[in-house]
Amino acid sequence: MSDNRPAMPTAPYAITTDRLSLDDLIQAVTMESSDEVGPGGITTFVGVVRNENAGRRVLRLEYEGYEPLALRAFERIGTETTDRWDVRVALHHRLGTLQIGEASVMIATASPHRADAFAACRYVIERVKQIAPVWKHEFFEGGDVWIEGATADPDDDAARQDAVRVAGLE
């Protein structure tokens, strides 16, 4: 804090057409709280637009989302994560037209201990891919296609257990 303004609270969950900022997420997971042990480490994940998909040369992605449901899905993912690991979670997703290399999603998990921060961060991105109501419209050399991945079902326990397994601690 180089000036005297109070720190603006940064939303832990966001879906926006604005460029994402990792600083915002780190601030969201490191806000002071006197009644708990503070972070000892922060794990971050930045998903970026890749120039290739399924053998196609990707030109750009256009992300569409159902914003109010996405925010609720993010909150749900955050609660699932904090129920399992001793972490704070921030998750921001971008919408709109993104060029190759631009960040589409950012996750930060802060924990007193690094193992929880790493596992939780992986869990969050797996759950985003399972249940966040967001879609990639891929524009590639020669055409375009809507990418369709997982049927979104937050109550699908098998999917949730898959994400826990991938996260690597259980």
Partner: protein, 88 residues
């Protein structure tokens, strides 16, 4: 919308390829009493037959919460149909 009355209908939201198939992301349709989300989906499929291919993969949200096809719906509700997601 000559075939629907705002006050008596449900608002249907469509996304991604479902929106492309229907040619719009938002429709208003009347629903009979006792309707469920599936009633609304079946109405859509009868209008846009290509949607039938999503019968086993579509998800539904009612009033901006994930729901089930057998959930009751009524006038004023917002029913969203979601193809398989691909965020991240």
């Amino acid at each position: 919308m000559s075939d629907a009355t705002h006050g008596a209908g449900v608002t249907i939201r469509l996304f991604a390829r479902l929106k492309d198939i229907a040619g719009t992301g938002e429709l208003i349709r009347e629903t009979p009493s006792g309707a469920t989300a599936r009633t609304v989906w079946d109405t859509l499929v009868s209008e846009f037959s290509e949607l039938a291919g999503y019968a086993s993969s579509v998800s539904v949200a009612v009033n901006q919460e994930y729901s089930r096809m057998d959930a009751p719906v009524a006038a004023g509700d917002e029913i969203a149909f979601l193809p398989p997601v691909s965020g991240g």
